[in-house]
């Protein structure tokens, strides 16, 4: 929980990550980190399927169905190429 995190936690996490946080910065970083944890708490509480895969490599174009409207909007007759991929992978 966000409220359980202390300045000591921040220092330890930073050290584990190879960062040095001076004492005079710990209060602000702690507050910011706690605000992030409140968001991760919300994400953790969200009901996700066990096998939900992350978009670790964000390939929007690969996830888009080849919809008629998408084809229509991209249809520039003089420029359209046959067999073109709808996106990189």
């Amino acid at each position: 929980m966000a409220s359980d995190v202390t300045k000591e936690t921040i220092q330890a996490l930073a050290a584990a990550n190879g960062l040095h946080l001076p004492e005079n910065r710990l209060d602000r970083v702690l507050k910011q980190y706690q605000s992030f944890l409140r968001l991760t708490d919300r994400l953790n509480a969200y009901d996700l399927k066990m096998d939900a895969e992350p978009s670790t490599v964000f390939t929007l174009t690969a996830e888009v169905p080849d919809s008629p409207s998408a084809r229509k909007s991209a249809a520039a007759p003089s420029q359209q190429k046959k067999g073109g991929s709808r996106g990189n992978r």
Binding site: Q32, L39, L43, Y46, F58, A76
Partner: protein, 505 residues
Amino acid sequence: MAIDRRHFLEISAAAITGLALSPASESSSQSAPASPAGKAAASGGVDLVALTLTGAAAQIRQKQLSPVELLDASLDRIARLDSKIGAFITVATAEAREAARASEKEIAQGKYRGPLHGIPVCLKDTNYTRGILTTAATPVLKDFVPSFDATIVRKLKNAGAIIVGKARLPEFSFGGETPGTHNPWNFSRSPGGSSGGPAAALASSMVLGASGGDTSGSIRNPAANCGVVGHKPTFGLVSRYGVIPISWTLDHVGPMARTVEDCAILLKVMAGYDPNDRFSARVPIPDYPQLLKRNVRGMKLGIPSPSVLEKFHPDSKRTFQDAVKTMEGLGVQVREVKMPPSLEVASASHTIIRIAEAAAYHRQFLLTRADRYLPDDESSEAVTRVRTTVEAGSLLTAAQYLRAQQVRKVFIQELLEMYSPLDALLTPSMPGPPGEPANPPVTFRPEYNLCGFPACCIPAGFSQSPPGLPMGVQISAKPFDDAVVLALAYAFESATEWHKKRPNL
């Protein structure tokens, strides 16, 4: 007002023979004026307030308007107004003059490149510009002069655009405000951010086009606040190569202008596959300007239910409702749609992804020059500067980042289903007028960086409380339906007069 053709041909002839056309006082890249420059002399009668990019392009093509005269008008306006507005970090006077003279010469020789040829534009100061300072408004990069142009800059230059300067943003593009830049409609108000400099430069008629960056709404927010048009393209449509990032999977680059048609012209040039951008999409690029004028009658436009907009400012709700009526008047079929369940956590997912990726980018700066970031604002607990944000972001775990990416995938899938029976979705641009408090849980801005769908903000009215501040609406659609978004935006714009309003400067 156009200069006459004889004058332009005389200028053109002088350019061809290498005669000096402009005052010899030009210098290399220089900082924007720090003190009032006084009202500049008129520049051959060129009225930048009345001109659009499209209109100027037509006059240039017909040799009724000289690119040098047009640039002079732009530089004069910057000199006269930017001490009050603060849109620019760097004005590239010498480089712009050289480019304008070259454009004029080419056009006189019949080598017209297209509608950006000779058009003065500005770039957000995250875009790498060869030989011109690129600071991202941070002391960390205060001396950074790139050795190459960002892909978007190269494309604009190849199309003949004249790069007038580098526009202001908050440090490293972090945030929805632009410190140092004032809203041309009301100097006491923010232009929004992070592309606040480009938006303010457009609204004050200093330039006719601009590039913006959008990771959480940073094209659309200032476009709405300043009464101009801002289009966040589909993720992958416009290369980010050579643009200082916030977050690799959320960053978008796109056009800003005063009209939808101007934006479409810019987008056509900016878009296209770039092997240097790992996420660049290999898709055909439509002729966006040509597709603007398609008939929108019968198009299916979704809108959120009133409960979703409950915490929006009354002016945002009124503007939105008026826009719905305008769309209905155009024959568009409007219907309420149910928002996807994951929308409630989309913003949280966006924030975690954004800051985790930003922390990875900033790691080297944190290790080597952390003391150069702007200091935290000790007077305000609410203001957190970039250094603190990325330090805290560095402490997030891989599992937390991946959880956010899991949610993101669900969100995209649910959104695709919601858009499936629709051509587009209409929402307010901003929760409220610039500077007015309104904090609804869903704003329809970062959510579109998370999903990558195209979204365009267009002027749609003015606030009543307080009066006179620009308001807008956003049109979004399925991935790569940018042409549909722009066609609906163009139809709306054609049925209204909001885009013709200018601040009294």
